[in-house]
Amino acid sequence: MKLGTLWIALVVLCAWGVAGCGGGHHHVTPITTKNFVFYAAGTDSADCTYYIAGVVQISADGNNTIMGGVQDFNDGDPEDCIGTSPQPSGDTINPVGSSLSFNPDGSGNALLTLVTSNTALGPANNPNLPPGTEVFALSFANPNHALIAEFDGAATSLGSYDLQTLPTSPFAGTSFSFTASGFDPNGDAIAEGGVFSLDGSGNITGTADVNDGGTLTVFDIADVTLGTATEGTFGRGTISGSLDGITTTVNYYIVSPEVIRIINVDATDTAVGSAYGQGASAGTFTNASIGQSVFSVAGIPDFIIYNVVGQFTTVPIETDAKPKANLRGVHANGTPVLGTFAGIEDANISVEGGPIVSAEPFNGTYNLGTDGRGSFNFTSDVVVFGVYAVDPSLNILDPNNPLPLPLLNGGALLVELDADLIGTGLLLPQATAPVPVVSNVAPNVVFGAQGNFGDGERVGEFELLGAAAMDDGAFSGKGFIDDPTGILTGTVIGDNNSTFNATFTDDGLGIGRYTSGTGGFVATSPATDETIPFTVIAYDANGSQLFWIEMDTGISWGGPIEASTFTVPVGTKIPATPKNK
């Protein structure tokens, strides 16, 4: 470069610098930010079931700078575990040391590091991280939604991470369906679901079904208020009163005007859940609101361990109804109109010594009230699901991104309401014309699997998370294996460069059920040189949303597969040759 050119360049740079600094005035251009709400459930460093929910503020300038945030952590056991975050403040997320870094391969996989004020959290044995640090694995399905799992050796979990859009006005006249699960002050597992409405003053009224350690109750929600959550509080607020019968402390985080995450922050019990709006359908639900669907139900992480995934069709009205039934949920004489359902399911309760059933037929009767609350009563087994319908235009898995027509949004939340199992789940409408086939699954997906394995000596939780290419059933993924206790292979694995390969085939039943074959889903950790075979079955709702289940004895997982706008780079595929487990 000639000397004259250099001078010109320096002058231009200086001019830019002056302009960039506001010409010497002390004016700071505010950085535009986005808030993301996250929640997850799993097992913490003290081998305790834990829940976490929070909001992280990130710069929208493309640098993904963490600007702050707040979170609530709770494992409900301050004596033997960690306890809950200080209340009412929660844990502050500090910008210094926090970061969000995407894998440069373009897959949408990322690592989120949060430095919090809660020094009881995080990998205390990692001298490279200050106390209170949490690291999360993220697999983005699109810029506004990711699956999230804690990934720092201290805890493992699975949940959702979603762009926050605060409502411009208080919730008013809005109806919600909700579910939550955890354990009560006795240490009994608990799952609950219900419906509630908000008036303009934040008063909540509704009805909840509670399965508390196998004891079932119905609770009328009253004298409950939703505290104010504003921009300054990151959309975090407190629910005063009880949604299930006992005064307790519940914090909430607004994801959007129709989606709220809720977390119990009591000292000796804990739970996490979500509430979804019912939209314009509030008060008008009928049996016909639930048609052909896929569903997934799971227990409580590392506590009540089971997974059930299935598909069913419905006939929304009984054929021999007398007097002639209407579609408003009740007969003229007040008795519920019963629809019927029948389908196929795969269930794995083997980690706790229970059965495995595959492609098992089931049927039963169901009813959905106009308030969106109802139940599925299985006649083929002693099983009852509480069902709570949501806004038919709402995408439960990714609230910021409704599925495009002709795909169906909506669905319902589920709670297991019988004395033998305790868990929660989701129900998604299944495309019917045609029923999904494996060749039509989205070419790029993200996946999350929350699993447990009992090796005969101990039971531990693990997570698989990542992004994958799908090509006519050929699944080729890249992402995270998180096995902080080494339950899968005897070796602790925390590998963010893992690969996942399988060939899914349609089972021929014509219901969108795909199988990997025995040991046909292979997860490989290059960092530890471990290769782990799994036997997996997936149920397809619409080519963009699937639920899957692991079906080996003593091991099980559940979780979602969702279409992604990111692309998994070619070249990650390796031969599916299982080596050990």
Partner: protein, 160 residues
């Protein structure tokens, strides 16, 4: 009586078979395996007394035992594998017994992993009563000692 259309017979039968194919959303009986775990029937509870011969906090895979901790109790009628679940010996309030101690265990005998297992709800030892499962057989995340936490009821939630 002769059939007028003997050739059609098989087709008629085939047609009936087609109509007899299962149709979704009917509630006709479905033969199915139970999708629920072995149920804990509190009416079948029994109380056993004996001497602890072994405390198994974490069984090795070779033992082929149900996961979680166990007490091997020598009773008058033989040795009993009392399964305590995964949480009973965890933490400060966990069950604390040692070999040679006299214990009384309350629970239900079941067949699990091909063996007789005594699914234990209560353990009484050294004057203490440990409640490790509720009346539905669900293991508790934390053990209640001497009635602390009491028994489960739907009105005691403390949840959302």
């Amino acid at each position: 009586m002769k059939c007028r259309f003997p050739v059609f017979g098989p087709f008629v039968l085939l047609a009936w078979c087609l109509f007899a194919l299962p149709i979704y959303a009917q509630t006709a009986a479905v033969t199915t395996q139970p999708v629920t775990p072995l149920r804990y029937d509190i009416t079948k509870e029994v109380k056993l007394s004996g001497t602890v011969s072994e405390v198994v906090k974490a069984p090795t895979p070779e033992k082929n035992m149900v996961s979680g901790s166990h007490l091997i109790v020598q009773t008058k009628t033989g040795e009993v594998d009392a399964s305590l679940g995964r949480f009973a010996m965890r933490g400060k309030g966990g069950v604390s017994v040692a070999p040679g101690q006299q214990v009384e265990v309350t629970g239900v005998m079941k067949t699990m992993k091909g063996k007789q297992v005594f699914v234990t709800r209560l353990v009484q030892a050294e004057g203490h009563t440990y409640t490790i499962r509720n009346e539905h057989g669900f293991a508790r995340e934390r053990v209640a000692v001497d009635g602390a936490g009491a028994t489960n009821s739907g009105s005691k939630g403390g949840q959302l």
